[in-house]
């Protein structure tokens, strides 16, 4: 008889029931796709407005999403009770610091409603205050509210938070509202009226990654809350899970489904030289640095010489506390430490000089983060609170280093890269990081397809957790409002059948191509045809090679079980996202500094005629390009207040 301690023998029989031939049919007022922080908030707000909500999540909602295992700071909560800036001032700084290439609507929502979402998180058991008085008396703490702040201690709009505690509470909140959560089910295609490209969205299909069951959800409104694509330029065969900064299941499933349905995208021509990948760089937040979670840690060179900090005027900062204050005469600074990519003088924060300058001045490598020189409360808040709540720090960094003897009061942690980076990349190794492109949105966070809303990372120029939560809540309530007035459109059965046939095809192949091989091929194509330098010919050739991979090789993908099937579908989605990047890059006939976009055949940098959002979308007649002014959102305060009377009334009465 077999016993539990007997060694496992391979191959292991598939432990879940196989349900490839089954189809589950469901109906919802609002379908939420993706159960990260944005998806949970979308589901909660839609349910609060009386909608019947279904949430599809590819992993498990309890810990899924880019912030599923934590986040350590929450940016731009301009309406928190200690903030010294208004949402209008802050979003203006954010837009101008990105030369206009920013999502005014979604970031205004983040600035205006972020604090409301933090209160929601707290009401559901998440920790947003120093309730145990661990940092009493610290300059980053407000004694009355017990809130902790990061970066700009004077203006107090970015909060330090215990994000590791958030997700469990959000899941409970969804359950209390009777959201039907369907975990381990990947949304694999959107359904449109009559199955037509560009028609209103009437639901989605999904595939269960354990049983292979097919799910068809008919919905009056759909909210896409999936992440940005990864693994377009970076792929590590044998270790795909650490190919990128974000979790490996962030494969742009929403991008691909949206593209096939006719959604308009913008800014996807923006891809920066990579900064993070689990294989090419050391663990994020786990090496000596002085930015982001580690802002503003002291650094020393190999001989123990301290690296100086300067403000925007080149004035050397003599004390640690000055690193957290605006310069004389400055209203506010955004993050400090080299963010955004091209800071403008008005909002530029304190920083240390770049490595090459330091080497010229006689500083010697390697550099180290020196927490021992930091005031005790700053040392504890970086090592323990921040490194402990950021997504990949609690177990692999804080716990593992501590077990191995690292003591922040005694040890210097070696640095392996410039700024906050911990590795070096080649110029053709690109990545979506720092406000990448995504779906275009209107003031309801609806896309150009009726009935399809977007929130969090799938929106163009998205970034952090606060943005995800705020836009999730906003899109969910507007989707619920839309659903109330929508009729009962039927799904198109021919479209359902075609999707099913395409999605399940890899199960019919006994031999052919593995999903990892296809992913590696896509990354190679993109590095060569859409790397540091672009030309029409390179990009067109890249499209041709990708189409070849799509028609000849994706058709030979092999999946032996439901797990393989999901991975295969994901790589097809990565391929589609790569195509959108190429179309987007072809559409912009000018170079751009902010977009990290260099066209050898159009070398003019940011000529006035090209200062606009270039959009691309599929239509029944092929791919169409268009353009939208950078300030298409109009007057932020007026438009926001016009579209959100209901929310503002509820907020006043609560």
């Amino acid at each position: 008889m077999e016993r539990a301690e007997d060694p496992v023998t391979y191959p292991v029989p598939w432990p879940y029931p196989i349900e490839y031939d089954q189809t589950e049919r469901l109906d919802a007022d609002v379908l939420v796709i993706g159960g990260g922080d944005a998806g949970c908030f979308a589901a909660m707000s839609a349910a609060d407005r009386g909608a019947r909500v279904i949430l599809l999540e590819k992993a498990a909602t309890i810990a899924s999403g880019a912030s599923g295992s934590g986040s350590d700071h929450w940016e731009s909560a301009a309406t928190n009770p200690c903030s010294r800036v208004t949402p209008e001032e802050l979003v203006d700084a954010m837009i101008r610091s990105h030369d206009g290439y920013n999502n005014g609507i979604s970031h205004y929502i983040e600035c205006r409603e972020g604090w409301d979402r933090l209160l929601d998180v707290e009401a559901n058991g998440g920790k947003i205050r120093d309730t145990k008085d661990e940092f009493a008396g610290a300059p980053f703490r407000d004694e009355a509210t017990k809130l902790l702040f990061a970066y700009d201690y004077h203006n107090r709009f970015t909060l330090r938070i215990w994000g590791e505690t958030f997700k469990r509470g959000l899941l409970r909140a969804c359950r209390r509202r009777r959201v039907r959560i369907i975990d381990r089910t990947m949304a694999a295609g959107l359904l449109t009226e009559g199955g037509r490209i560009g028609a209103p969205v009437v639901g989605a299909v999904g595939v269960n990654g354990r049983t292979g069951k097919f799910v068809v959800v008919r919905a009056k409104a759909t909210v896409l809350c999936t992440s940005r694509p990864t693994r377009i330029w970076l792929f590590v065969p044998g270790a795909p899970g650490i190919s990128e900064f974000r979790p490996p299941q962030c494969t742009g499933d929403g991008h691909a489904a949206g593209w096939r349905a006719g959604v308009a995208f913008t800014m996807l021509e923006k891809a920066i030289k990579a900064e993070w990948s689990g294989s090419r760089s050391f663990p994020p937040y786990g090496t000596g640095n002085n930015h982001n979670s580690w802002y503003a840690c002291s650094m020393v060179d190999a001989r123990g010489r301290e690296i100086p900090w300067y403000d925007r005027d080149g004035r050397e900062l003599k004390t640690v506390e000055e690193r957290y204050r605006p310069a004389p005469g400055q209203t506010l600074f955004l993050k400090g430490g080299g963010e955004p990519d091209f800071p403008i003088y008005e909002f530029q924060g304190p920083d240390t000089p770049p490595t090459d300058e330091l080497l010229q001045r006689g500083y010697t490598l390697p550099f180290y983060a020196d927490l021992t020189r930091m005031p005790e409360h700053e040392r504890r808040v970086i090592w323990g609170m921040m490194i402990g709540n950021e997504g990949k720090t609690k177990i692999p960094i804080l716990q593992r280093y501590t077990e191995a003897g690292f003591d922040p009061a005694r040890h210097l942690l070696q640095s392996y890269g410039d700024g906050w980076k911990s590795g070096a990349f080649l110029p053709q190794e690109r990545q979506f990081f720092g406000l990448p492109g995504g779906m275009m949105n209107d003031w309801h966070l609806m896309t150009n397809l009726e009935g399809l809303f977007a929130a969090g990372d799938i929106l163009f120029a998205s970034n952090c957790d606060g943005h995800a939560c705020a836009t999730g809540h906003y899109a969910g309530r507007h989707a619920a409002g839309y659903a109330r007035h929508r009729g009962d459109e039927q799904v198109d059965e021919a479209q359902v059948a075609a999707l099913r046939a395409r999605l399940y095809a890899p199960l019919g192949n006994d031999r052919g191509v593995s999903w990892q091989e296809l992913n590696l091929a896509i990354a190679r194509v993109m590095q060569h045809h859409c790397g540091e330098f672009k030309t029409d010919e390179l990009l067109t050739n890249g499209l041709e090679v990708l189409r070849d991979l799509e028609t000849r090789d994706a058709a030979r993908l092999v999946a032996r079980n439901p797990h393989d099937l999901i991975r295969s579908i994901e790589v097809c989605n990565i391929l589609t996202s790569a195509e959108i990047v190429l179309y987007s890059s072809l559409a912009r006939k000018a170079s751009s500094r902010e977009l990290h976009f260099t066209r050898l055949d159009h070398p003019d940098v940011d000529p006035p005629a090209w200062r606009k959002f270039v959009t691309v979308q599929q239509t029944p007649d092929g791919v169409k390009n268009d353009a939208t002014p950078l300030d298409y959102y109009g007057n932020l305060t007026e438009n926001y207040e016009r579209e959100n009377c209901d929310y503002l009334d509820r907020r006043t009465s609560r």
Partner: protein, 98 residues
């Protein structure tokens, strides 16, 4: 006596997690929370989960975080990602950890 010899297809390059089969109670919480669905349940009820897709690990450690038995599951770093630190006051030789 010679032990039987087997061939196993494509062992993973990395071993992201180790499970102590003596400590593991087979509750499968790690399997429930894993974003990348690395684990398969043991065919024997109560047995430790199988790390089937180790290469897909993101190394965020939810499996360890949720495990009810301390030490039953360990997140392993990769050899090439070992980070070095040194004593602040000696300025000299450091050591590689973890």
């Amino acid at each position: 006596m010679t032990k039987p010899v087997h061939a196993i297809p494509d062992p993973a390059v990395f071993t992201p997690v180790s499970i102590d089969e003596q400590l593991c109670i087979g509750c499968n919480l790690c399997l429930l929370v894993c974003q990348a669905d690395l684990f398969l349940p043991n065919p024997i009820k109560g047995g430790a989960p199988i790390v089937m897709y180790g290469g897909e690990c993101w190394y965020e450690g939810s499996c360890v975080d949720y495990c009810p038995v301390p030490g039953a599951i360990t997140l392993n770093g990769q050899l090439f990602n070992r980070v070095r630190w040194k004593e602040a006051d000696d300025g000299g030789a450091g050591r590689s950890e973890p």
